[in-house]
Every structure is written in structure tokens, then in C-alpha cells.
């Protein structure tokens, strides 16, 4: 167990290191950030001065070394635009993103699993066909467009939900949470629904495929031969087995939600870290982009690790090694 954890830790660090190299290289090859910090009428001398201050006059290796050592020392650079530590900027906005992603995930799971189980248990039913066509439509829709249509209908036309912003938040342990206020819930409905649709469709299809696969297994028939009811067999013996593949993609789906949150936040002007990323891309605010990517990479690596742990809890055949 301890050996496994150590091995995973090394793996995770390795992934983060590779990501840091790629992020650094991509950032170095493209554009010259010096023009982001000097005034438009700067002289050559001033530009050279700024370049020296940013360390851009040194070799790539030296720059990377500085980059990685300052990352390790907790110095993540300052935003060119906000003149604040990039990490602080992102952490301030993280709760907003996390809460939207979580609401979207819960929504997706709550809708997708029962419908997927139903469609998998009754593959030829009329309702199942409708569910499956809708889910295929769900993965064929551009999420941002759905958000837009929702805004047009519910905000512009009917005025039921607000079209943008996060609404009132309540502070708890220093975090600003909108789920604690009625206004916050009111604001989160449209963006969370928009964000959840794609994941909902994929989880649904996975659950259905899992159920159909499981229904063919001998142990299902054996359980019926013992005298268990079809329903019992389906839910007591089938469901857990069917959900194993769903759990394995759960982490990836959570990652997708964080990624697509950038778009959803942009549409709904949701003040999260995703919108900050997009704004920073527009403004070529390199330190913020870098910190966002490194932070998200860390989150993904941790999620994947947790998924593996959950996986072993569900499936006794898998052991950590």
C-alpha cells in the first residue's frame, strides 16, 4: 500500500514536470511578453531593461530553471494585467468554478444514472429509444450554444433566471459560496444545466452500455436461477458491475467539466477561474495562464488518483500495486 502510494506520487510528479516543460516551451516560443509590460512608446533601452528584469535575455535552460525553481518556492509570478500574484487571482476565483462544476456533476449523475439504467434494462422500449436519441443529441450539441439558447429563453424572453453573474454569496471559512444563498442558487441554475448536458449524455450512454453488457453475463442468469426476481438481479447484481466502467471515466468527466467551465463561465459572465483564463488569453497575461494550467494539471492528477482509489473500493479484483 505504502509502496503503491509512493509510486503514484512519483508518477504524479513526473506528469506535472512534463506539463511544466510543455507549458514553458509553448509559452517561450510564442509571442514576446515584454510588450505586455512596457508602454507602447517605450525606447529600445527601456525594452531591453524590461527584458532583463523579466529574465527574458537569458538562455531557455536558465529561464526554465528559474521558472521551475520559483514555482517550487511557491512564487507563481504576478499578473501583467492585475499586478497581483497570479496564484491569488486564481484561488480567489476557484470556489466559483468548483461550485458550478460540482452542481453540474451532481445534476449529470442524478439524471444520467437512473435513465441509463432504465435504458439498459429495457433496451427495446419506446422510452429507452427516446432517452438514447436525446443523449446522442446531447453529445452533438455545442454546449455554449445551448447556454445561449437558455439565456435567450429564460433570461431575455421570460426573465425567469438571471443571464449573468454569480449573485449573492455567503462567506464561510473565508470562501465565498453562492450555494448558501437563494440568489446564488437562482444564478447557478442556467450555467450548471448548460455545463452538465454533455457529461450527462456521456454518463448515460456509459451506464446503459454497462447495463447491457452486464445483462449478458452468466452470473446474472445464475442469480435468476437461484430464484431472485428480475429486478433484484438487475439492481443488486447488475448495477454495481455496470457502474465500474462509469467510475473509470468519472475522473475524465470531471476534468471535462472543469475545461468546459471556461466556456460556460464566459457565456454567463460567471466570475470563476475559467473566465479568468479566457480573459488572460485575450490579454496575453502569461503568468496567469501558466498558473492556471499547472493548477488544473495538479487537480486532474489528484482526481485520477482518487478515481483509482474509488475503483479499488468498488471492485475487489483490483488491488493497489
Amino acid at each position: 500500500m505504502l509502496g503503491y502510494l509512493l509510486k503514484r506520487l512519483i508518477q504524479m510528479l513526473l506528469v506535472l514536470w512534463v506539463v511544466s516543460v510543455i507549458v514553458f516551451l509553448m509559452m517561450s516560443f510564442t509571442g514576446d511578453p515584454v510588450f505586455m509590460v512596457v508602454p507602447i512608446d517605450a525606447t529600445d533601452a527601456e525594452i531591453a531593461q524590461a527584458r532583463r528584469l523579466l529574465g527574458l535575455d537569458q538562455s531557455l535552460m536558465v529561464q526554465y530553471w528559474k521558472f521551475i525553481t520559483s514555482l517550487l518556492q511557491g512564487d507563481f509570478g504576478r499578473s501583467y494585467v492585475f499586478r497581483q500574484p497570479a496564484m491569488t487571482l486564481i484561488l480567489e476565483r476557484m470556489p466559483a468554478t468548483v461550485e458550478m462544476v460540482l452542481v453540474a456533476m451532481v445534476l449529470a449523475v442524478v439524471v444520467a444514472i437512473p435513465l441509463g439504467v432504465y435504458a439498459g434494462a429495457n433496451p427495446n422500449g419506446r422510452l429507452s429509444r427516446i432517452i438514447m436519441s436525446s443523449s446522442l443529441l446531447g453529445i452533438s450539441l455545442p454546449g455554449f450554444w445551448v447556454g445561449m439558447v437558455l439565456i435567450y429563453l429564460f433570461a431575455v424572453n421570460w426573465g425567469i433566471f438571471p443571464s449573468s453573474g454569480r449573485g449573492d454569496t455567503a462567506e464561510i471559512l473565508g470562501l465565498r459560496i453562492s450555494l448558501l444563498t437563494w440568489d446564488g442558487w437562482h444564478h447557478i441554475v442556467l450555467p450548471a444545466v448548460t455545463l452538465s448536458l454533455g457529461t450527462m449524455a456521456i454518463l448515460l450512454r456509459m451506464t446503459r452500455a454497462g447495463m447491457m453488457e452486464v445483462a449478458r453475463q452468466d452470473y446474472m442468469k445464475f442469480a435468476r436461477a437461484k430464484g431472485a426476481t428480475r429486478g433484484d438481479v438487475l439492481y443488486k447484481h447488475g448495477l454495481k458491475n455496470a457502474l465500474i466502467p462509469v467510475v473509470t471515466i468519472f475522473g475524465l468527466q470531471l476534468g471535462d467539466l472543469i475545461a468546459f467551465a471556461t466556456i460556460t463561465e464566459t457565456i454567463f459572465s460567471w466570475p470563476g477561474m475559467g473566465k479568468l483564463l479566457i480573459d488572460s488569453i485575450y490579454r496575453a497575461d502569461r503568468p496567469v495562464i501558466v498558473v492556471y494550467l499547472m493548477l488544473v494539471a495538479l487537480i486532474f492528477v489528484v482526481i485520477n488518483f482518487l478515481v483509482d482509489i474509488v475503483y479499488t473500493l468498488i471492485d475487489p479484483r483490483i488491488t493497489l500495486k
Binding site: W145, M148, T262
Partner: protein
Amino acid sequence: MTTFLQSEFFHNYTRSSSAIIGSALMALFAFAVLAGPFLVAQNPYDIASLDLMDSYKPPVWLEGGDPRYWLGTDGQGRDVWASILYGARISVFIGLVAMIASCVIGTLLGLIAGFYGGIADSVIMRIADIQLSFPSILIALFLMSAVGTGVDKVLIALTAVGWVVYARTVRGSTLSEIEKEYVQAARVAGLPNHKIIRKHVLPNVLTPLIVIATIQVGTFVLIEASLSFLGVGVPITQPSLGLLIKNGFDVLFSGLWWTSVFPGVAIMMLVFGINLFGDFLRDELNPRLK
């Protein structure tokens, strides 16, 4: 041809309503992409053909609609229908070309990894693993933020995202293929590697790629649309369907919904058609790949 008409594949096709609807939608888009410019009088990129007097006309069935513009016009008097036909060309072009590039590069790398093994295999597969643990949209977004907008850059970003799935699939089937006796025999007989790959391995690893490639075109159309919507995809001079939606979004709050809703419907129909047909193909060609 008659043998194809008698095949089980064709038989199942005629019995599958989703396969027929899917391929009909794909055919519709193929036609629109090829014949688009001949279907509409206006070239939405030719400023001379635009008339500002015609701006913001609603669809023809609404009050104030203009029979010349049945889906309405945008702020420059540009026909939404014409924009969709031209935009679909760009979206489909990007989806197809990026798919082909991903497929070629991914297949090559997969063959190398599977056939030669060793360091090449570890490096290629490690990169693939790391890449797969990140959402494609985020990787594409990051690449676009680094290289800037442009059709060519979108193609590069999509290919960088898309090769992995081919590489993994091809590597897997190559590994199982070279285990087989006839390949072993060819190796022992001294047939050069490139010939073994071309004659024995490649033909046997391609079938599963058909399904992946079909569905990937749809995925790429969606990713491109998202990138363009965020303003880091295609340039304003070559508006894809996604960019049309973005442009329409800016005026949505004034109630001018048609400039953004209809391009979205077009994307939905295209990708839905591809996915319907892709699902059918998967069931037919590779029942276990679910």
C-alpha cells in the same frame, strides 16, 4: 456493387432508421458544402453584395421578415442562410482535414510503437497517456492561446489533440497482429519490415479506425466551434459556424436570436448526423468496441 447491396451490412443499414437519418444528414451537408455558393445569390464575404439597409431582418415568418432572407440577416445585412452555407464549408473542411491528418500521424506513430517497441514505444505511449488525462478542449485551447488564431493553427491544434486515439488503437491491434503466425512466418522468411507492415499489419488494423475517424469529424467540428466561439479559433475573415454563433451572441440580448440560433442548429444537425451514422458503423464493424 450487387454484392454490396446483398451484404449483411447493407441489409442492416436499410433496417436502421438512425443509420439512414444519419447518412441523410451527412449527405445533406456534403451537398451544402459542395454546392453552397451556387445556392445563394449573396456572397456574405463580398462587401459589395451587402446592403446595410437590410441589416437585422428577422426570419421570413416573423413580422418584418424579408422573403430574400428566409433566415434573416445580421448587423451588416448579411444573409444568415448564406453565412451558414459558407460557414459550414469552413467547419466541415477543418473537421475533415484535421481528422485525416490525425489519422495519418496517429496511425504512423501507432505502427512504429507497436511494431518496433522499445524506446519509441515508451515515449509515444507516455505522451499519449499524459495527453489523454487532459480534456482535449483544454489542450486545444492552450495551443491556440500560444499560436494565435487561423484556420491552419486550428488544424494544428486539432491534430495535436486527435492523433492519440489512433496511435493507441493501431498500436494495440499491431501488437496482436504481429503475434499471429503468418506475420511471424513473414518475418522469419526475411520480408523487410516495411513490406510486412504494408501487406500484413496495416490492412488488419484499419477497420476500427473507420468508426473513430467518423465520430472524430463531429468532435472536431464541435471543438473548432468552441475555440472560435471563444475567439481563439478561426479569424473573422473566415467565419465558421462557431464564429457565426459568437457574432450572434453579441446581439442576443437585444433579442436578435436568429443570427446565433440557426448556425447552432446547423452544427447540431451535422454532428448529430455524424454521430448517428458513427454509432451504426460501430455496431456493424466492431460490436465489442462500446
